[in-house]
Symmetry: C2
Subunit: 216 residues, 2 copies
């Protein structure tokens, strides 16, 4: 059975982005520190079309990001800083002409927009009828593979509250951001449904994998 | 220079105790899961006067709890569930006749009480004039060794906000409690002063050690 899953880098005090996110600072203040471990990996270098990068435990974890992912869902904040109706001048995401998804990507928004086809197989679809509809369309287009929630925190929380998430992979970095966007806000009732099936660490980050308990 | 430090077991969603703490359930609902890793160690068995217990990485970390600790400070909630003026029938803590501290312990309270001497070297002092006064008395009685904050979250937060904490050792268990008492609430401004100097993990728990940055 294909899963709905997500992967996030989180500070030890629970933030997945720093404060004051915006066009100049998409990860928020201090948010880059959440991802330094990932930037160092060979997987990330390959995604950027660059040579080098470290192999080992952290790279093995980064390698799992796109494993068996057939479609992606993301919130509009993850897609870009644009608010309200889509402007004439197109915003096509943070990732340049060839985004690292290489699958259909369903962007949750209140404002309709025609799909945008990027290089490398990524197609952005804009979904205005809610998270269940987006999930249905993502599953239909995933070709039997998993659907990944690309972020951000608010989108992950909506799917958690709806009881639809099967797996979470949390990369917890030894950093205290002291502010920003918290992953585990407003989802207290649903977290008891998850159990950890793996915990490993490097000196740079601890990787926790949680699975939804199978209902009997 | 002796340090002020604390050690806490925390869920991955940031809780150091479950909801609804009380006499019957001092760790709160689900709170026991925060400490299972510790209960399994040889160090914990020795503290209980029992044989056995596991050695290895988690035990090495547990061994650090009392290392170089000359005095302990704790909040009244950590000391017991009693509220208001001290009753006739004495509450002498959760730990029986011989508490595991073996040092002076300074209990923060609004209600004066005479010191209580327990077996094994633990003496409970009751401090009514605030956290700085308690720290001063603890340092005076620590014989040049460190002062440990025994808990709970609220006491740790007060010392964090006052900028007095030098070191935190956080044992982060792969459990999502979904409610309870959060360690990192109301301390956002001060956490940027800390940096991690060690991260290690077993399959049961990741151990993060943070040190206050040295001011230049």
């Amino acid at each position: 059975m294909p899963e709905l899953k997500f992967t996030m880098s989180m500070s030890l005090d629970g933030y997945v982005a720093g404060p004051n996110q915006g066009l100049e600072n998409p990860l928020g203040e201090g948010g880059r520190a959440l991802h330094e471990w990932a930037f160092a990996t060979r997987t990330f270098s390959e995604m950027q079309g660059r040579p080098g990068g470290e192999t080992g435990l952290d790279d093995d974890q980064a390698r799992l990001w796109n494993e068996n992912v057939g479609a992606v869902i993301m919130g509009r904040n993850m897609f870009g800083p644009v608010r309200g109706p889509w402007p004439e001048e197109a915003w096509n995401g943070w990732w340049g002409d060839e985004p690292p998804y290489h699958t259909p990507v369903f962007v949750l928004t209140h404002h309709p927009r025609e799909p945008v086809e990027m290089q490398g197989g990524t197609i952005f679809h804009f979904v205005t009828d809610g998270i269940e509809a987006a999930l249905e369309r993502a599953r239909d287009s995933a070709g039997g593979r998993d659907v990944a929630i690309g972020g951000g925190a608010s989108t992950a929380q909506q799917y958690l509250r709806a009881g639809l998430v099967d797996r979470m992979r949390l990369h917890v970095v030894p950093v205290l951001l002291g502010g920003g966007e918290r992953l585990f806000d407003g989802v207290d009732g649903v977290l008891a449904d998850f159990e950890c099936d793996e915990l490993v660490s490097s000196p740079a980050v601890a990787h926790y994998t949680f699975q939804r308990r199978k209902s009997t």
